[in-house]
Symmetry: D2
Subunit: 348 residues, 4 copies
């Protein structure tokens, strides 16, 4: 297994490593305790309480699921009526990179144009108005939900103002608003960010607090601020194969993330690393895309330069820009060390 611990720099993704050491420590400490199954244990209950408090949502239902695609499939599938679809950016993860899991569950993803991964209230409104003003709309898929990501796939953030506009529009049209928070820690820790967990709980009908990319071995916390919004969701998670027998493993991890502000702190670690890299890239004249302030950086490289850098650092391929240029993704995480940042800066 020796070649897994590469001495080279690896910024290709934010899920390369295990769990935050505090999380691992707590898992080890609690390992032999006996608890009830299916997230009915005391750790899960404690984690729920902490999340409710942090979200200022005392009645919220909180479900611990395994991964992002699963969480999206379960919430979207369980919430929507059969005749409804979900509005999303044409670039959204559920549109492109979840193997059609939403359609596999029977629902259409209704795409609207996006810029830097974000969609606008106006475009959503146009879609909804277009639907209702079409005289044949009973032969069409009714929009029943809006899906956004915070941060987006491109590392960008919705501002509080933007989110409030979208939320208002959704409520006016009796459409749910759902936010995918796979990398939520890296939004919350940003200086530029003005959307808190409490804001998300106030403005969304559901969102999830990402664990897999933000400090846990696995696991996402689905937060539904209105209690019992989806009756029997517990049973439905079982139908989706998403109910964890040893739910306490997720509970322990989220309980730790929301003890002493670890979730914010580990987000901050990633942002600090990313900020340093961004500054260095700028200084050295590299061009970045999307103006992402979060843990992800999208850099345009000349191919020859990229080849050279790649001998020392593993980056993530994003897309071909043209014959001679490539966009690469760099992702910092809770585990990115100052040393790794320094090493990377030295090779660019």
């Amino acid at each position: 297994m020796k070649n897994t611990e590469k001495s080279t720099i690896n910024l290709s993704s934010d899920y390369l490593q295990g769990a935050h050491p505090d999380v691992m420590k707590r898992l080890a400490e609690t390992n032999l305790l006996k608890t009830a199954g299916y997230t009915l244990d005391e750790f899960s209950q404690s984690a729920r309480e902490k999340i409710r408090k942090e979200c200022n949502a005392p009645e919220a239902d909180v479900f611990f699921l395994t991964g992002g695609t699963q969480t999206n499939a379960v919430f979207i599938g369980a919430y929507l009526k059969p005749y409804q679809g979900v509005i999303a950016a044409d670039s959204a993860h559920i549109s492109l990179h979840e193997a059609g899991a939403i359609e596999f569950g029977g629902h259409k993803v209704l795409t609207v144009p996006s810029e830097n991964g974000k969609i606008k209230a106006e475009d959503i409104r146009d879609y909804i108005d277009g639907y209702y003003s079409d005289k044949n709309h009973e032969h069409m898929v009714m929009p029943g939900m809006v899906y956004i990501s915070q941060p987006t796939e491109c590392g960008t953030l919705y501002s509080l103002d933007e989110l409030e506009k979208i939320s208002e529009l959704c409520r006016k049209n009796n459409i749910a608003l759902y936010a995918d928070g796979a990398r939520l820690a890296y939004a919350l820790a940003c200086d530029k960010n003005d959307v808190s967990l409490a804001d998300l709980a106030r403005l969304c009908d559901a969102f999830y607090i990402g664990g897999t990319k933000c400090g846990t071995l696995f696991g996402e916390a689905l937060v539904i601020p209105v209690h019992n919004l989806i009756p029997h969701l517990f049973t439905m998670t079982k139908q989706y194969g998403a109910l964890l027998a040893k739910g306490r493993i997720a509970g322990v991890q989220f309980d730790t993330l929301f003890t002493d502000g670890l979730y914010y702190r580990l987000g901050r670690t990633a942002i600090d690393a990313a900020d340093k890299i961004r500054a260095a890239l700028k200084e050295k004249g590299y061009k970045t895309l999307y103006d992402s302030p979060t843990n992800q950086i999208f850099v345009l490289f000349e191919n020859s330069r990229l080849e050279e850098i790649s001998r020392n650092a593993e980056l993530g391929f994003w897309e071909k820009a043209d014959q001679d240029h490539t966009v690469m993704r760099l992702a910092a995480s809770w585990a990115t060390t100052e040393e790794e940042v320094k090493d990377f800066i030295s090779v660019i």
Copy 2:
């Protein structure tokens, strides 16, 4: 969280505790290594190799999934054609206790009578013959697979002879045979057991090696002896929300389970504990059901006696036998200590 570590005896289930200490240790050791995602990492590859070797199935596809219901839903759903269903015991877990996940995936569970959780080749044959001899069978669900559990829900075992008969029947009828091995470690470690992993790989089209109840935090290893039996199953696991982003967490755990025979040893620990309890129960005149030789024991208690015992020991409710008697389930596990066994024997 103090009340979770109950000083009282708890034999109510075999998934009350975390992972085997060796598994936890290995997770901690490898925690900060960087690896590829989606079970494409070196740990997962190593675990696959060890499993293939143990199963004498060098070409086998091995998928690491999260839990038993998920594994059943993914394999059964991905293998069957839309017009096919799966034959199972009327008491099978997929028939009764998986929230209809198989039907949620579009397939009927076709039940045959069972005894002590087991189904017989003759009853399966009768079902298949009944289907094909019905002149309207094109209006009916075609049996496309047989599902069994080893050990069964009742703790009983299929003998090699029984399994060979079922396998032969399935192959003759071009029907897949699939074995649910949620508690497989506790079958393999039994003195009475004559079915090895290699036998399962030889006789089944797929089976899973249970982790959740047998030493891991979570995770099941789905073994499909014929390579590429189900093309694009990787993508389908994603559709089911079952693809682990940090797949290496499952890989590390299964790699540890199949290093130095840990999977067999931890199974043996449970069987030793269960055997001692069984002997004590017999000596004290208790009646047990199903003649289970594995880690589960089903005991008939007089209600008044049960109430007394329950003050000191937590057992699992199984069913009401009559007004005055109750059947309880006792489950030993890899984590059951000699002390706990002794304590329990002293209170019955």
Copy 3:
């Protein structure tokens, strides 16, 4: 095509011929009129009004669908929540002979024992009680509906008293009651029958008035007494591929069936024919099964005798009784003539 008009007697089924001559006449008369599509035309509206009146259900929603399996799949699928299943007789059409359409739609058929095709309120109650008293019922499929057929597959009838008991039980448990009326005309026309359309509308949450087997070219009228019980069912029928573009073809047919009592009269024709055949069979010492008073007759034949009769009359195979005996189904219909009855009696 000459060999289709067999001179021999054919009682093998009740959907061998086209539509009742009055229905054909009305289709021809209205053929070139121009109307709106999708059952929004005046004929469909008129048919709905007549059905509402006949059912004493002035607010009822009435949908015209193509066939029985489709109607069952659409109503059951659209009504049930994802975590619910439908209780039915183990011998029910949806359990055995609809190719798993209900499971294909994601829902489990929960079987209870039946006698002569009928299920009892007590058995339904036991099933429901068993579900709710099981401490693990959140891991099981919740019963959300009861499906019955009137008449049943065996030609038997639910009495008003039996139906009221089942209805009361369902309402007490907040479970829908749905009746499959594929052959409803042949129940309504029976002397023994005491369940009217108005009773069905009062006691069921939905039922369908069969056309395909009762006088139309195709088509079933799904009656849902409570308006908007299932919001957007129109759109859902489209999703199921069940929305008729030229809905008026169904509308014209049902409008005719409910003009001047044609539906009752054509049912009576079949019952009269069946009664005469039953009397003749009894007189000649044949044994019948199930005591069906409707248009279907199930007769036990000695094989040698059956062979002889089959030279002159086509009957429907039902099941092998033993080595020497076979049960055959005889079905009269709205189109069975006195001459055919006489001819058949002469050959038995």
Copy 4:
């Protein structure tokens, strides 16, 4: 019902009336013949033979289904593997106007840009290449089929050359090509058309010959040139609720359509009517869209003029062009009379 037979001109759609008189006559003549059910009757067999001959596809499987959405849902759903989607025009009927039936069946519609309802081989190729060249394509929906309409929603036609290019591309990529022929009679009868039924059978993996809009009461004939391309499709049609009990009603209708070239002749009637209307519109200076040579005409009207015309003629709303103009759809059909054409021309 008097107001259904409007004296005013109605060109709003091509499914306003019943069946072609020859079809109605044959239904009446055969009405009381006794035949087998489920399209196993002699009429259906005869219709199949005639269709096979016309398509020069002697081995073709031919299924008679009820309507277009159903036929699309059944073929696409039954053919695709769970991990595959279907490529279609962004304006395709399955993309927009079938209530999400394809997604309801579990598959994503993968849209490519279209012009006048048509998609180009190059755009399909780009989509496929984009998929396979994406390093994450195993996390994406695999294109498994291309869906086109002949004629398209906009009344335009694929030329033989265009169709051959698309077909070649599909075969090279092992992707099925499927053509929706809801209005196929109106393509086949066009002077401009150079694609025959035999071409479709040679170039497509499946297509359907539309009946509902082309002369029948209901019904579409799904033609699959390679026998048994989809094993057990009969059972799957039952699962979709699409198997007609009295299948002979569809069989009689299609047998008539393919006797003495009726299908071509009735198509010609519509094209003649449409051509006259097109000429008159041109002469009077109206602007038409899409350059449709088939039975549909899309005309740009000044709103004030449209209001006036609408007093005498019912047209179909298509879309708002701007504040002062509206695009309306005019559809001729097999039933459009010379008188109606003359009347319409006199009011524009």
